[in-house]
């Protein structure tokens, strides 16, 4: 048996000139994800609706995959059938059977008809579906306002019948917005920022600064685990791990104590600028949230921003921490983020960190540190890990 899915798309439909590009991207994203998961699949595209057919035993995995693919607005197991009234009614009874078996009783029917040669109008078809279901399941009843489930019939190139689509991620297909370089730490915020931008169509590569032996191998493994979760949304990603100990030690030695954190963040942004150029990214993504820590004041963000000419996308800049935590829990990164391994900032904990950098003065302090040779060396030694899409739940 096969599982047949109807996929609803949303924002892509609003694209005018380049809609085909978005559609192709979603198609190739689906194709790559099913392929990476080892699921035999067939994708069909019609205007406004996609369809995927997979083996029945892969249905659960397909649900997971579709729920994590940006650009998918919603999806539902559906029955496709010929465009005769009888076959549509029979399919509607089948769809209702599953719902009623799971204890639902009240329903309504909604029909859409783009093929006007179909002998019944939408309203009439809905009424006939209602009659057919009531007849097949006398315990059911029609409720147009608060139904337990809704049977949808769509008459297009074929007829499709389904009930209550699952919500998708919405957003835009991965890669349609280009590629972003995500500064990924082991914390709560940066994975959420990566998720938010992947959902807006960015393909992701991530950069993690590893300060061994100040940070442990466990901390590094934790970041790999986070990347694996992010990859289920981004459709696979790359994770760069750059050894940053030497850079940090130089900062610790030569920078004024209250500036150490800020200088480190600046050095990280400089490294991101260089790597972004190298990998062809078109933006940098961080988990900064205004005022959350001293390096995230507007003044200090201005300094770190001065180290790059890429747009630095900070999707959490105006998000309250509790909302970020809730989102982290929902997307499955929170439990990993709170594992108790030190991140790379442990080296620096100035008692009174600089809160409001003066751009020119602090930028001069940064330039005087002459960190570029160390940063370049760090990127030279950086290791790239390919993190493919998996069915990791």
């Amino acid at each position: 048996m096969e599982a047949f899915y109807l996929i609803k798309i949303g924002e892509i439909l609003l694209k005018l000139g380049n809609r085909k590009e978005f559609e192709d991207r979603l198609r190739s994203q689906l194709h790559r994800r099913f392929g990476a998961a080892g699921i035999a699949h067939k994708i069909e595209m019609f205007p406004g609706r996609y369809f995927v057919t997979v083996p029945e035993e892969s249905a659960e995995d397909a649900d997971f995959l579709l729920s994590r693919t940006p650009g998918v607005n919603g999806y539902a197991r559906a029955i496709k059938t010929g465009k005769s009234v009888d076959s549509v009614l029979a399919a509607a009874v089948e769809v209702a059977r599953g719902r009623i078996a799971s204890g639902k009783k009240s329903f309504k029917a909604e029909s859409r008809r783009s093929d006007k040669s179909f002998p019944l109008g939408s309203f009439e078809l809905s009424a006939r579906i209602g009659d057919a279901v009531l007849e097949a399941f006398p315990e059911s009843r029609v409720d147009l306002h608060h139904p337990d489930f809704t049977i949808n019939a769509e008459i297009r190139e074929r007829a499709y019948v389904f009930a209550d689509p699952e919500p998708g991620l919405r957003g835009l297909p991965a890669g349609s917005g280009g590629k972003g370089l995500l500064l990924l730490s082991g914390g709560i915020d940066s994975p959420v920022a990566g998720y938010m931008m992947a959902r807006r169509g960015l393909a992701l590569e991530a950069l993690y600064f590893h300060a061994y032996p100040y940070t442990s191998k466990e901390a590094q493994e934790k970041v790999v685990s986070l990347a694996k979760v992010l990859a289920t949304y981004a459709g696979g990603m790359a994770l760069w791990t750059a050894p940053f100990t030497e850079t940090q030690l130089k900062i610790k030695k030569d920078a004024r104590e209250d500036l150490t954190t800020l200088m480190m963040r600046s050095a990280m942004m400089r490294a991101a600028q260089i790597l972004a150029e190298r990998i062809g990214a078109n933006c940098i993504v961080t988990g900064d949230s205004l005022g959350q820590v001293s390096s995230q004041t507007a003044e200090n963000l201005r300094l770190t921003q001065s180290l790059t000419d890429y747009p630095v996308l900070r999707p959490l800049v105006g998000v309250d921490k509790e909302d970020t935590v809730a989102l982290a829990k929902r997307i499955g990164t929170f439990d990993i983020s709170i594992l108790p391994y030190e991140d790379c900032c442990v080296l620096f904990s100035p008692k009174h960190p600089m809160l409001k950098a003066k751009l020119e003065r602090e930028r001069r302090a940064y330039d005087d540190l002459a960190l570029d040779p160390l940063i370049l060396d760090s990127l030279e030694k950086a290791e790239r890990l390919d993190v493919p899409f998996t069915l990791t739940r």
Binding site: P213, Y214, S216, L249, P340, L347
Partner: protein
């Protein structure tokens, strides 16, 4: 790898393991069975018990029994699954005592005194008992890492049923004044006109390392572990003073087939018992010679550390050959460098040490409990590592550690 983490575990003696496996395979009967195979296994088990008792209490002492005892018997010695279980039996017995009292309708307040430097096997149990309504008083150590007997005595209340103080601290090596503590408990109890509460001693880091006789010291029970002295994991022992048959007043929480004098039910592991006895006997052989060697290594370590600028032996002022400390365990602070970072770097240089107790070094919060209890500031406590030696450690091990630690500290200190 240069192994200087003997206080967390020791390399097992493969000859002993093989011999024990053979004995257990030959005498495979259940020691509780009445047939000849069972009797044979029982005989070997009792042989192991006598041998372990001789190693713990000295060869001249009458062998204790798990079941019955003459009036002169030095109590009961029960094999357990390890030091942690041996600690848990007397502690959790308090729960049974408390519930028994409740059943009789005479709801009785029970009280426990424990030092703040106990191993997690005692400390966490004490916190559990506290959360379940048993009164617990924790007694802080002095700056030298030792518990003041007077403070233990002062913490004893009229309802105190148990006092738990370890013999040798697993992070600092501080040898606790157990005999003086037993006397202080007795004095405090007599002021209430009652018999003294049981003194339970976690002697896991003492057995085979320092001359400690739980019975002579006046303890009521003591916990031992095999794997700290080249024996296998999964085997320990609980010694309980007094006669068998309830005179000790120790009713364990776990019940079963009544094995091990009903202190620790479950079919006995002859293999573990045999290996533990053999390992303890080996540790007792040439004890004085081994102790002298350990003191030499301790001195070499302390002298070497004094030439690393900034490094501080803990507790501050610890000197070599001080009988108040086990020669086998030393904590050292390297201010300005987190202990876990140094341990990681040393591991890369082929040297195994740990930060505090291996049982707590995974937890940032609990990791420095013992050093903090001694009044050391957080940053100093957080910069400590534990170096522990054992039978087989050499001067070359100490020198390799000193060289690598000096280099790593210079490079990584911030």
């Amino acid at each position: 790898m240069t192994y200087l983490d003997w206080a967390s575990t020791s390399p097992p003696d493969s000859g002993i393991l093989a011999e024990a496996a053979r004995v257990a395979a030959d005498s495979f009967g259940n020691p509780s069975s009445r047939h000849a195979l069972g009797t044979a296994a029982r005989d070997r088990l009792e042989e192991a018990r006598s041998r372990l008792a001789a190693a713990i209490f000295g060869p001249g002492v009458d062998g204790p029994s798990a079941t019955a005892g003459a009036s002169r018997a030095p109590g009961r010695l029960a094999f357990t699954s390890g030091g942690t279980e041996a600690d848990s039996i007397p502690l959790l017995a308090l729960l049974r005592a408390a519930l028994n009292a409740r059943r009789d309708g005479s709801i009785k307040r029970l009280h426990l005194v424990a030092s703040e430097i106990e191993h997690a096997a005692v400390y966490e149990e004490a916190l559990l008992l506290k959360s379940l309504g048993i009164g617990v008083s924790f007694v802080a150590p002095e700056a030298d890492g030792r518990v003041d007997p007077g403070k233990i005595g002062a913490a004893v209340e009229k309802d105190s049923a148990l006092v738990a103080v370890m013999a040798v601290n697993n992070e600092t090596g501080a040898v606790q004044p157990v005999a003086e503590i037993a006397q202080a408990i007795a004095r405090a109890a007599s002021a209430f006109g009652r018999a003294p509460p049981r003194l339970h001693v976690d002697a896991v880091q003492a057995l085979g390392k320092i001359g400690f006789d739980s019975r002579a010291a006046g303890a009521g029970s003591a916990a031992f572990s095999a794997h700290k002295l080249r024996g296998p994991r999964g085997t320990g022992a609980l010694w309980v003073a007094g006669e068998a048959g309830g005179a000790s007043g120790l009713e364990p929480l776990a019940l079963g087939g009544g094995q091990e004098g009903a202190l620790r039910p479950g079919t006995e592991s002859l293999q573990g018992a045999w290996a533990f006895a053999a390992a303890a006997a080996a540790a007792r052989d040439n004890f004085a010679q081994r102790a002298a060697l350990a003191r030499n290594l301790e001195e070499r370590l302390l002298v070497g550390l004094s030439s690393i600028p900034g490094a501080l032996a803990l507790p501050l002022g610890r000197q070599a050959r001080d009988e108040r400390y086990s020669p086998y365990i030393l904590s050292v602070a390297f201010p300005g460098l987190a202990g876990e970072v140094l341990a990681r770097s040393l591991s890369d240089s082929g040297i195994a040490v740990s930060t505090g107790s291996a049982c707590s070094s995974n937890s940032k919060r609990a990791g420095r409990r013992i050093l903090r209890a001694m009044g050391l500031p957080d940053d100093l406590a957080g910069s400590a590592i534990r170096v522990s030696t054992g039978d087989g450690s050499t001067e070359a091990d100490i020198d390799a550690f000193l060289e690598a630690a000096a280099e790593a500290y210079r490079r990584l200190k911030t």
